[in-house]
């Protein structure tokens, strides 16, 4: 065995450049496969399996997916509004543990402003047993123009408690646009939750109704209300986030709402997202096929790299055979060499994998607020390097056969 390692070590050293290039190719192949599998699995888990604190979302009649993306992930456009009374009705249902209204329509330099109630900070658990906590300050008063900033918003905009800002109209920020006249004071900055909530500015729902230029349900301009109370029938909400006492209770509520013509109840949220991701499964499949192709190309590269050295090494094999090396020893040395290159490539592939994961996680977090666990285990992290070593061994067989068949007497003559 020591002879095999000596032969392999020396060969790798002697052909350092081609070895290095082949290792890089194997690393890219291995890293790519691990990344594709892990990122897709992590994304699927993050968007479908995570505890997001709500069981269902009530919103305007339309696509449940749009409703979920808009309210849970703060992406996409709002499908519309529903009467405030629906919120009250749902909230009053027995199985409902809590129902929290969202009213959308403004942004702060691209970060969404969501009007809601104080229950978000007192009742809502974004993960089992975890409520929002504050790095600084505290919740807003529902009677004042106060705002709570998600951790990412505060960090990226450099806002802190007691700072003020003026919201911009619409869900997307258009540079050059004038902000609303209303000025909001930051009352609290939340601790990071690693959820889309980190990218949200929370204000009292009443603030949305009273924002300059906003129309109430009957078309009345908010400016016309002045300091008067807004009747419930003139209010509307973009969505109501619902949590049941028991998750399965939504099964009875959803059909009742969805059979009507006024609203959609997206339930269960994970199922809605799973359906969406399943439709995008072909993208993952294509990425996987590309990754497999890269592995095959790396395998051929490995084969070519070793095969190209065969002619110059024929004399070496003949000498080794003359010194007593068996044909199988020479054969094994080539296969071991090829496998070793693949193994080294796979090890380097981990570095590449962590690089891709880190970048992917940063991009996904920046776009959606969803955080991928870059250190999470996936079986691909084990079987990809092993598979790469097998590919390496297979790639070594052809050149090894050539070495195996070396005619010692003729080569040394």
């Amino acid at each position: 065995m020591s002879s095999l390692f000596l032969i392999v070590r020396r060969s790798l050293r002697q052909h350092a450049l081609s070895t290095f290039v082949t290792i890089i190719a194997a690393a890219m192949a291995s890293g790519l496969v691990m990344s594709v599998f892990t990122v897709s699995e992590q994304s699927r888990t993050a968007f479908t399996g995570g505890d997001i604190g709500y069981d269902g979302v009530l919103g305007a009649k339309g696509s449940p997916l749009q409703l979920v993306l808009n309210t849970v992930y703060h992406l996409e456009q709002s499908p519309g509004n529903i009467p405030y009374s629906m919120y009250k009705d749902v909230k009053a249902m027995g199985p409902v543990k809590y129902a929290i209204p969202y009213a959308l329509g403004d942004n702060l330099y691209g970060f969404r402003i969501v009007g809601t109630t104080g229950e978000l900070f007192t009742e809502f658990e974004y993960q089992k047993g975890k409520k929002y906590t504050f790095e600084d300050g505290g919740p807003f008063s529902e009677m004042h123009r106060g705002a709570v900033l998600g951790a990412t918003v505060a960090e990226e905009l450099g806002l802190k408690v007691d700072d003020d800002f003026r919201p911009f109209h619409g869900l997307n920020y258009l540079p050059g646009e004038d902000p609303h006249e209303e000025r909001y004071v930051v009352t609290g900055v939340m601790n990071a939750t690693n959820t889309p909530a980190d990218r949200v500015v929370w204000i009292p729902i009443e603030g949305i109704y009273r924002m300059g230029g906003h129309e109430l349900r009957d078309g009345t301009k908010s400016e016309d209300i002045g300091g008067n109370a807004i009747p419930d029938e003139q209010k509307e909400v973009s969505a109501v986030m619902v949590k049941f006492h028991k998750a399965g209770q939504g099964m009875f509520v959803a059909p009742a709402i969805n059979s009507g013509g006024e609203a959609t109840f997206a339930y269960p949220i994970a199922q809605v997202m799973l359906g969406f991701l399943s439709k995008l499964g072909w993208i993952t499949d294509i990425l996987r096929y590309i990754a497999y192709m890269v592995v095959v190309v790396a395998g051929f590269g490995l084969l070519a790299s070793i095969y190209n050295t065969m002619n110059e090494r024929r004399r070496e094999f003949a000498v080794l055979r003359a010194l007593g090396a068996k044909r199988t020893t020479v054969f094994s040395a080539i296969v071991l060499e090829s496998s070793t290159i693949a193994l080294l490539g796979s090890l380097l592939g981990y570095a590449l994998y962590f690089g891709v994961m880190t970048v992917s996680a940063a991009v996904i977090k920046a776009q959606t607020g969803v955080v991928l666990d870059t250190m999470a285990y996936h079986p691909a992290l084990i079987w990809t390097p092993l598979g790469m070593v097998v590919v390496g061994a297979i790639a070594g067989v052809f050149p090894a056969m050539k070495a195996y068949s070396t005619d010692v007497a003729r080569t040394l003559a």
Partner: protein, 229 residues
């Protein structure tokens, strides 16, 4: 009383090659030849007379068409190839005219290669051999970094590294400056004596042949040469 047994004994050895024009040509026809333990034998032969084939067949690197090679009483021509390889790794040392050192390996590693296939790689002994040959300061040099004479000494050390019972030397001084040829030969003989190995040296260099008491003409051994003549 038992008759003393030769270390190496060849009997009825024949090797025929087919030439490119389809003719069969006998290159080796040895009726009998033997060498005893620790014996030194020099064989004189010109280029192309079949002496390398002769050594290759003894070493098991080529197979005879007929005849036997008996080593220590055992017919090694009957060995399977892996067994022959193992036998060669353990019992035999080979010095090539062109040294055949491996360029990617250091001097020490080249010597270690002479022992790893026979079992244990005795690093200490490999170093000792090289130091004895004046290469203690060149252990980690590769062949390309050594002079021709130093390369020859590494090749000698490699041939003796497995403490063989017989060393085959094919024109061992053929690539050396005449000034160093006899010195290298003395080293080879001295090392063989030290490890108790028989030495079968094939050369066309008269000075080399004259150094041996037991000095044979290959034409007297290989009857195929008579036919050619």
């Amino acid at each position: 009383m038992l008759a003393s047994m030769a270390l190496l004994e060849l009997a009825g050895l024949k090797k025929v090659y087919r030439s490119p024009d389809g003719e069969y040509q006998t290159v080796l026809d040895v009726e009998s030849f033997q060498i005893d333990s620790s014996e030194e034998v020099a064989i004189a032969g010109t280029s192309g007379c079949g002496k390398t084939t002769f050594l290759n067949i003894i070493a098991g690197l080529a197979r005879p068409d007929s005849g036997t090679v008996t080593f220590d009483g055992v017919d090694v021509t009957g060995y399977s190839e892996p067994k022959r390889d193992a036998w060669r790794a353990k019992e035999l040392g080979y010095v090539f005219q062109t040294f055949n050192l491996l360029g990617g390996y250091t001097a020490l590693e080249n010597v270690l290669l002479g022992m790893v296939f026979g079992g244990k790689a005795d690093r200490g002994f490999a170093k000792e051999l090289l130091e004895r040959l004046g290469l203690g300061h060149r252990l980690n040099h590769r062949p390309g970094q050594l002079s021709i004479g130093q390369q020859q000494r590494v090749a000698l050390a490699r041939a003796l590294a497995n403490r063989p019972r017989i060393v085959l030397a094919d024109e061992p001084t053929g690539n050396l400056d005449p000034r160093f040829a006899l010195e290298a030969l003395d080293l080879l003989r001295s090392l063989c004596k030290d490890v108790g190995a028989a030495l079968l040296c094939v050369s066309h260099d008269v000075r080399v042949l004259d150094a041996f008491d037991n000095n044979l003409d290959f034409a007297d051994i290989n009857r195929a040469m008579e036919t050619k003549a």
